[in-house]
């Protein structure tokens, strides 16, 4: 009897245009080697922890996560994504750290009608005119964290600021985000090569400019070296450092140490946020990997939860793209950052917080949440997005 029922069910499913998949495949392409590796490794580990919490399932279906290193190289990322899409036929893609790589891989993913859940890169292009139904960003739009820093620098009354950022799409977004809320004088804008590690020339220039505050966006190893060399050059005596959370999270703090104390930064998430999901995430992440999670880890974790909720919503019928899109837009998972919703361009509308680096109760140098900078903040590009 039950056998016949199963056969009948199978026949019915085959007859329907959208049958339920028997398992879900996720392609995670991230930067796992080189100076940007810290970011990709945290995204991967956050995602893996979520998969463990979900018992290896996405929406009650067994899930397989394919992981590959893009070596921070757009060409390699594109080749890997091609393989995941055409050969492995993945249902979701995620993991890319850097916006230039995202912009290189995006078109291939969208043509293939596969949903990309970005756990980091949030280029302005995909938030505005080039927004795409198959692109979701579960983290933020690139400008957002920089906008929040700009607001803080403005409110604290700094009048003479130097900006340092790499010369790539994410860096351009950083400058426009910062300047959207900081209205004072920008004494100098310094663009470095992406992946640059020696900042001697730039630091001499900063010393000559004598700014009262310095805003820098240098993710991964770039930021680690910059802060170290900034302190070694004796510049920290006269100039207050400000950065988005990217350049002041656990990966950088661990490498630079106590000379980062007192630095302000912005984030949409912090490890001391008081909600049940976050407490479980932070505790288990430390148990699993022996270090505090960074915001990248929280984003990887949320990306997995988002896929899980959407697959469950469509009851495993991931072939029905329209239904899956609706389910993703509905956002029925509990994020570790607390509540947020998706805007019409598939980027979050959420709060942004001010954090400061200091010693916690256990004597560790880490971030502490100081207050809210923006409440229910949307990105600046949503108006030019005509989502089809």
């Amino acid at each position: 009897m039950s056998l016949r029922l199963t056969a009948l069910a199978a026949a019915l499913m085959l007859a329907g245009s959208a049958h339920a998949a028997d398992h879900i495949k996720v392609g995670l392409v991230s930067t796992l080697s080189g100076p940007g590796a810290g970011l990709g490794v945290d995204i991967r580990d956050g995602f893996s922890l979520a998969m463990k919490h979900l018992n290896g399932k996405l929406g009650n279906l067994p899930a397989e996560v394919l992981i590959a290193d893009d070596q921070q190289n757009p060409d390699i990322a594109k080749q890997t994504a091609d393989k995941f899409l055409k050969k492995d036929k993945v249902d979701f893609m995620t993991g890319i750290v850097f916006s230039n790589i995202m912009l290189a891989v995006g078109p291939t993913v969208f043509e293939n009608k596969t949903f990309y859940i970005s756990a980091n890169a949030g280029p302005s292009q995909y938030a505005g005119e080039q927004c795409n139904p198959f692109f979701f960003n579960v983290a933020w739009q690139n400008d957002n964290l920089h906008e929040a820093v700009g607001k803080v620098v403005q409110d604290k009354g700094y009048k003479n600021v130097v900006i340092v950022t790499p010369n790539y799409p994410g860096g351009k977004d950083a400058v426009s985000g910062f300047k959207r809320y900081y209205k004072g004088k920008v004494a100098d804008e310094i663009y470095t090569k992406l992946g640059q590690l020696d900042y001697a020339a730039e630091l001499a220039q900063i010393r000559a400019t004598k700014p009262d505050a310095l805003f820098f966006f240098l993710p991964g190893g770039m930021g680690i070296n910059f802060v170290k060399q900034f302190v070694a050059a004796g510049l920290s005596r006269d100039t207050q450092l400000f950065a988005p959370g990217f350049s002041a999270d656990e990966d950088v703090i661990k490498a630079v140490g106590s000379s980062m104390m007192g630095m302000f930064n912005s984030s949409h998430w912090a490890h001391d946020m008081d909600n049940a999901e976050n407490k479980r995430f932070v505790a288990d992440f430390q148990k699993e990997y022996g270090r505090l999670p960074s915001l990248y880890a929280s984003q990887g974790y949320d990306a997995a939860l988002m896929m899980d909720a959407a697959v469950r919503d469509v009851k495993g019928k991931v072939e029905d793209k329209a239904a899956l899109q609706k389910a993703l837009e509905a956002k029925r998972f509990k994020s570790v950052r607390g509540d947020f919703k998706f805007n019409t361009n598939h980027y979050p509308v959420q709060n942004y917080y001010l954090r400061a680096i200091g010693k916690d109760a256990q004597g560790r140098v880490t971030n502490k949440t100081m207050g809210t900078i923006f409440t229910n903040h949307a990105d600046a590009y949503v108006a030019s997005c005509k989502m089809k």
Binding site: S33, E202, A204, R207, A232, A255
Partner: protein, 304 residues
């Protein structure tokens, strides 16, 4: 303004002297043994890993530096005896192929042993702050690097120009058979030069480790710069390598510092911010092309 120029000059000097450590070994192997060694950058990388690993194990930067340099010298010795000795008589294409293979092997080996993520190497605690010179602060550690570079340059000058060994090396390079006929062990001499070059690579890698990052592939980008240096300076010439290194170091540093500012005065801010960094990164290649146009043999050709 004077302070800025002075500080940038020190930065250029520091960068140039580190390039010199690499270029010196490369130019000797290329100019004297007539062997193109693309794996020179790999020796720099492996040397830096040796230093970082030893520094971590011994919990002291200086012990790590000494052990790492010694380790790289031993590796250089093994490589010379097993591989490079066979390559001297081959044509340049075989040398390029063999040493390129060595790059791939070295990168994968390092990835397998130390993993894909960069190693952290910190300068000694006492040198991590700034010191005051002539009214401005300069990182103490960079001054130490400059001191090392100057010491090595002086040592090399004495060794090559004033010592008997240096004379043998120069003689072996200009006429190998004749030198051998005079009873000098040229093969042993070449081995010594190669080992010395490997040790200089590791010294550069170890000293730069705290400023950059000890990571897979760090040798390739610096190898290109080292080749630019020896082409500008003249292949086979230590003096050329020193002058070439200082020119490349200074031009690169000043270009990165001054070009964007200069362009911003001439062009709209948007175009300047795009063009400035791009132009700064190709500046040394423009310089190389310019020098080769007027002096195709480089500034100080070894065999004039």
């Amino acid at each position: 303004m004077i302070q800025l120029v002075l500080e940038q000059a020190l930065n250029g000097l520091q960068f140039g002297l580190m390039l010199f450590l690499l270029a010196a070994g490369l130019t000797l192997v290329f100019g004297i043994m007539d062997c193109i060694n693309l794996a020179h950058g790999s020796l720099y990388m492996v040397g830096a890993y040796f230093v970082a690993a030893a520094a971590q194990a011994a919990d002291s930067f200086w012990i790590g530096l000494g052990a790492g340099v010694a380790g790289a010298a031993v590796l250089g010795l093994l490589l010379e005896l097993s591989l490079f000795r066979q390559l001297y008589k081959r044509d340049h294409l075989s040398q390029v192929l063999a040493t390129f293979a060595l790059i791939l092997i070295a990168n994968e080996a390092v990835r397998m042993i130390w993993g894909p993520q960069p190693l952290m190497l910190n300068p000694p605690e006492s040198l991590s702050g700034p010191v005051e010179i002539a009214g401005f602060f300069y990182p103490a550690y960079r001054l130490v690097i400059i001191a090392f570079g100057l010491a090595v340059a002086g040592l090399l000058y004495l060794l090559v120009a004033k010592s008997r060994i240096g004379m043998w090396v120069r003689a072996g390079a200009s006429n190998r058979e004749m030198t051998e006929a005079l009873g000098i062990n040229v093969q042993g001499l070449f081995t010594a030069v190669f080992v010395f070059g490997a040790a200089l690579c590791a010294l550069a890698g170890g000293l730069l480790g705290p400023l950059l990052a000890v990571q897979v592939g760090m040798g390739e980008s610096v190898l290109i710069l080292a080749f630019v240096v020896i082409i500008i300076g003249g292949i086979g010439s230590i003096r050329g390598a020193l002058v070439g290194s200082l020119i490349v170091g200074t031009v690169d540093t000043l270009g990165r510092a001054l070009l964007p500012t200069l362009l911003r005065a001439l062009l709209p801010a948007d175009a300047a911010s795009t063009l400035g960094p791009a132009l700064a990164s190709i500046l040394i290649y423009l310089l190389m092309a310019g020098i080769l146009f007027f002096k195709p043999q480089g500034l100080f050709p070894a065999r004039a």
